[in-house]
Symmetry: C2
Subunit: 384 residues, 2 copies
């Protein structure tokens, strides 16, 4: 029996890098001190924590002081949204964290084109005089489509300038949920043009439930959790020292290897895609072919039932996703696939295959063979 | 040179138990799957997570489904407070998390007696027809005073019955912040009589930034973080699987050994207290002598400067606290010591010595000798 695992769901979760765990270890057992305590070993822990924040910030071209460390991307996003009171512009294909945070406000959902791309024109058209936040993801977590953040940032900047010229005091911020992307593509706040950015350690081989919200100096945040006043009063609670140090190691490694990893994953993904499309000419690839995360493949097999496929593949140790892994999504059709107008018959046969560090050439080659065998048998069964 | 450490600040932070780390380890590297993913290994992770919640709940006499796992006691407390809209009754000596969460509401701060004890009568007097939450800590984090939760619970129950009889629909809940106490004293929701309870892994040799809010079935919570709908929609975000499993191991161990540990720590604390009081007859012990956490000693040396003492002791590897370790507290006089009416001259010379698993007989005996030497020299210096 073959005990090898074929993990094609890196967008849902990534294993912790052993080097990250090693970096965290001392802070679990020995340097466990409360960073707010006054004695020397605790002060050292505080310094290590602040230094880790600085290192995380540097990876995205920011400063440590402009980061709020949170317990996950969902919290980061909620912190950003809770900080404004006005109208929100976001897209209909965001992660549930953004959709639900937006639902607490007067909001407009911009719709993507059929490739899952949000145009800056549609964002521009949705901005109102009372809009205070535009939030567009860096890359879509189902399709892998990379959004034109620079263009959208320019639209927000123009509106900000217009307000300044008109003497209007209402702020407008551009936030991006970059939970997906770091480690595969360039994630740099100045180059992206964002005013606020959510990044997520748990999706880049770092510890789970550790994330950050970076904001530019002029962005005014308001806490959702009150208490001891940590994180400049924006996120009270004893700091997650081990987690933040792990985050720093993971972020540096992910960003430092992004170029090579993108090339490697892109080649593997393209090969996998080619094999599947060649074997199944009716297969539909979704997302923007040329503006896609390198490790991302969204493929639909019209007439097949993706949930059945997942269980058939699971029996062969191939682990893939259908739609987003979010709990809220269970048993319903993906809001992303609906938004890009995928026919229900196509949408229901969709797999999301996301490659990452566990994807070696050999592993993907074997996974492709299993996928082709299982999907082929299923097509035969349903008579396609 | 003596390299032994004398850690007398267990109320600020506890080291992670090695058995806890061992239990977490597989979920970092191998069973890293997103618990919302559909394939078998992820389903196993989900089961392990739910089982861990069940185990944590059992420790306090509750059910796993009635727990919301959070990223720290501060978040748990904020979740409870954000769930109500009416008036709040709490005490003036709560942790900053409670004080600041209460400040978001119309609130009444009940004041303690000179031992830091909150009477049920004072809570009763503060309850108004629009009161929706009473929140009183299990044990004070500075003084160690254990509050009469059962009596306060009875006051809340009587008010609830009165409202039911009067046909009033406004709820009233009794929450307790039990961040301090588990592992030293009995923490059981039915025996305490609480409707909601915050417990904190990071203070019981479990992982930092993992806590829970337990609520009785009739308590209606409302989320502060929106998204994927995890934790029955009350706390969105991918679950902290490793942390929750670590929490379960830590909680079971802490509760299972609470009796023996209380006896052991109580004897060590009493011995330390006796030595200090004998050496320094002007020393003032604060808190309720007979209703105090066994490992807790709050002692003031009138005329001395506690901050100076901390640095002098640090040079001898003795680590102690003055007041709470919370960031918000820095450079200001403790709100707890002010509330119990301690004279400024006494308050400013206060040390909080909290014993725990690192406190062996030998370690405490050596620490006592250093404390006596350092404090004695300091008394001589200031001419007391």
């Amino acid at each position: 029996m073959n005990h090898e695992q074929y993990y094609l769901d890196h967008a849902a979760a990534t294993p912790l890098d052993e080097r990250v765990l090693e970096a965290m270890q001392p802070y679990f057992l020995h340097d466990f001190f409360n960073p707010s305590s006054p004695y020397a070993p605790a002060v050292k822990v505080r310094q290590a924590y602040e230094e880790a924040k600085q290192r995380i910030a540097q990876v995205i071209g920011g400063k440590g002081n402009d980061l709020v460390i949170t317990a996950g991307a969902t919290e980061s996003i909620n912190l950003m949204f809770a900080s404004i009171t006005g109208h929100v512009v976001t897209s209909s294909i965001e992660h549930h964290a953004v959709l639900e945070a937006a639902a607490q406000h007067d909001h407009t959902f911009v719709v993507p084109n059929e490739k899952g791309m949000i145009s800056s024109e549609s964002v521009k058209a949705a901005i109102r005089p009372d809009t205070e936040l535009v939030s567009i993801q860096l890359a879509n977590n189902e399709l892998g489509t990379i959004q034109p953040l620079r263009d959208i940032a320019e639209v927000v900047r123009v509106e900000r300038r217009r307000r300044a010229d008109a003497g209007e005091s209402r702020p407008i911020y551009f936030h991006s949920d970059a939970s997906q992307g770091l480690g595969q593509i360039d994630v740099h706040v100045a180059r992206l043009g964002v005013d606020a950015l959510t990044i997520n350690a748990g999706k880049m081989y770092g510890p789970k439930q550790v994330a950050a919200l970076w904001t530019d100096r002029f962005v005014r945040l308001a806490p959702i959790v009150y208490g001891g006043g940590q994180e400049r009063g924006l996120r009270s609670g004893t700091e997650n020292v081990a987690g933040t140090i792990g985050f720093a190691v993971a972020a540096e490694f992910a960003a430092g290897h992004a170029g090579g990893e993108a090339k490697r994953l892109g080649a593997l993904r393209d090969s996998l895609e080619k094999q599947l499309v060649t074997s199944f000419p009716t297969a539909v690839i979704s997302g923007a072919r040329k503006k896609r995360l390198p490790g991302h493949l969204h493929i639909s097999f019209p007439g097949l039932d993706a949930e059945r496929l997942i269980f058939l593949l699971e029996a062969q140790n191939v682990y893939v996703a259908t739609g987003s892994a979010c709990a809220a999504n269970k048993g319903t059709r993906s809001h992303v696939l609906t938004a890009i107008g995928l026919a229900p018959e196509v949408a229901d046969g969709s797999l999301r295959l996301t490659l990452g560090r566990l994807s070696t050439t050999k592993n993907i080659s074997a996974a492709a063979a299993i996928l082709i065998r299982v999907i082929g048998a299923e097509m035969e069964r349903v008579g396609r």
